[in-house]
């Protein structure tokens, strides 16, 4: 039996019409942020995402999850692009970590909501956030 080929899958993904970068850029503009994401910025995020797929043996059929991370951060008080990208990268890693930890039953949206809840709880301290999920990966964990 032939093995599933991830590169073919990635090829499929790149052919999809979604363009998360331009959606995020529009939102950045609408929220009066003073920066936009370049193609390079976004390809770094995209490359990290591929690494996460490898690490957690997952694949994602859509950009929707990445995009909702980007959109969530747009509404947070972040003023510099570097901070924005750093938070983006960590939240994306947390999302796929949780996705592999909770393989079924829980929806993407529920995971996203929990990330947002704890992000606010730790007032944007992403290292605290990351540690909290490593220690308490269960959703609805009240500390």
């Amino acid at each position: 039996m032939s093995k599933f080929d991830l590169s073919l899958f990635n090829q499929f993904l790149s052919q999809q019409k979604e363009n998360p970068r331009s959606v995020i850029n529009q939102e950045l503009k609408a929220n009066h942020k003073a920066f936009q994401l370049s193609i390079e910025d976004f390809s770094e995020i995209s490359e990290e995402r591929k690494q996460l797929f490898k690490e957690y043996h997952l694949m994602d059929f859509s950009w929707a999850n990445s995009q909702s991370i980007g959109s969530f951060l747009v509404s947070e008080p972040i003023f510099y692009k570097n901070d924005y990208l750093a938070h983006y990268s960590i939240l994306q890693a947390v999302f796929y970590y949780l996705r592999s930890y909770h393989p079924g039953g829980i929806t993407d949206q529920e995971i996203m909501e929990e990330i947002e809840r704890r992000y606010q709880k730790y007032q944007g301290d992403v290292e605290m956030l990351q540690g909290s999920f490593e220690d308490f990966p269960e959703l609805e964990e009240d500390m």
Binding site: L8, L58, M59, D60, Y96, R99, D108
Partner: protein
């Protein structure tokens, strides 16, 4: 199976299948992706012509038909098989029910873990058989076994299992996971002995040696042809035996390939002892009785050798009285006492009782009593006793 991934149309078709599977999440673990890929390929391999979606539908239809045919076979086996109480067989058959209720042609057509199968086949299903192919082969083999066993009288199978169990030391129902193999082996051996009628599936050591030699030397076995013609499965299983037997070099061990009827004895369980109160009451009544009454009390009241031994140790009577008491004991009780003493002294044959250097009253009196027998009576007693053995002493 051809490599579907080389077909450029496969990828879009497959991705669509995967996306249909998603719910509440756009993420899927890779191992699930791979299982679905195997499933889709399995179904496609059962389709014939046309585009991928057409072939997929044909494949599903084809598999559905085979599935319902197999379910009928399963039902037939369920209704007709005789398990002889073997747990793994009963459980495995029940488990297969899960396969029929849980088989998923869309996403899990190539999976085999719907049922937990503990029961082994004499010839295992090849490892590359997946999904319906696996269960089809398993059940067809099982049906071949069931129909083979049906032609053999049940009492012979029970006898065989009984011997098997003695060699095993615990309940065969918990151990046997391949009844057919045990029976088929013996049956084939019996056929090679060319007996006119088969009354037992057990071998004596000489027969076993003979058959083993025959299987080692001969290449073709016309005696077995009629069996093989019923089902090729039987031939394949026999061929495995040939390979195994040719590897057995030590003749002592080779005999154990078959279940051999050694000098087996019937087992006997001793009557249980009476309660302490009953025993004391008996002794109280005994103390105030005269001699004929005493003998009466003991012969009627005591049935367990332990009680009898205890009574002898607690009573003080003349040697003449004891001699007379033994004369009044039931003949079968004497035999049981002999077995009891044999077990105490770990004697192999009842004749050995006479040579024991015992100090306890029971064995001394019994020895003396047996010595009073004529040679003929004594020999008869020994022959009878030697047919039995007591259950091993309960250690708990």
């Amino acid at each position: 199976m051809k490599n579907e991934l080389l077909d450029p149309a496969f990828y879009p078709f497959f991705i669509k299948k995967l996306q249909e599977r998603l719910s509440g999440s756009s993420v899927m673990p890779i191992d699930q992706v791979e299982r679905i890929q195997q499933s889709v390929e399995f179904v496609l391999a059962n389709g014939k012509e046309g585009s991928l979606p057409e072939r997929f539908e044909q494949g599903k239809e084809q598999l559905t038909q085979r599935l319902s045919a197999l379910q009928k076979l399963y039902q037939t086996i369920q209704d007709n098989y005789q398990s002889f109480g073997i747990e793994s067989l009963e459980e495995s058959l029940d488990e297969i029910g899960n396969f029929f209720s849980g088989y998923d042609l869309d996403y899990g057509a190539a999976e085999v873990d719907q049922a937990f199968l503990d029961y082994q086949l004499a010839e295992a299903v090849p490892a590359d058989f997946v999904g319906l192919d696996f269960y089809e082969r398993f059940l067809h083999n099982l049906a071949a076994k069931a129909s083979f066993l049906k032609h053999i009288p049940e009492n012979q199978i029970y006898e065989l299992l009984d011997h098997y169990q003695r060699g095993l030391g615990f309940d065969y129902r918990k151990d046997v996971n391949n009844l057919f193999e045990i029976v088929f082996k013996q049956m084939v051996g019996k056929l090679l002995l060319c007996k006119k009628e088969i009354h037992t599936l057990l071998f004596n050591p000489i027969e076993a040696q003979y058959v083993l030699g025959k299987i080692k030397r001969q290449k073709i076995f016309p005696e077995l042809e009629s069996v093989f013609q019923q089902n090729e499965y039987y031939r394949r299983v026999f061929q495995q035996y040939q390979v195994t037997i040719c590897r057995l070099l030590d003749p002592e061990k080779a005999v154990r390939f078959f279940i051999v009827n050694g000098n087996r004895k019937k087992t006997l369980e001793l009557p249980s002892t009476m309660s302490a109160t009953r025993f004391n009451q008996l002794l109280e009544a005994y103390d105030v009785a005269d001699q004929p009454e005493k003998i009466q009390l003991i012969t009627d009241g005591i049935s367990a050798p332990e009680d009898f031994k205890e009574y002898l140790e607690n009573s003080e009577e003349s040697p003449e009285f004891y001699k007379s008491l033994f004369k009044h004991l039931d003949k079968n009780f004497i035999k049981i006492l002999a077995l009891f003493v044999m077990r105490d002294f770990d004697c192999d044959k009842s004749e050995d009782i006479l040579d024991t250097k015992a100090s306890d009253r029971l064995s001394n009196l019994l020895k003396d009593y047996i010595k009073t027998f004529s040679f003929v009576v004594r020999s008869e007693l020994f022959v009878d006793v030697n047919e039995y053995q007591l259950l091993p002493r309960d250690i708990s």
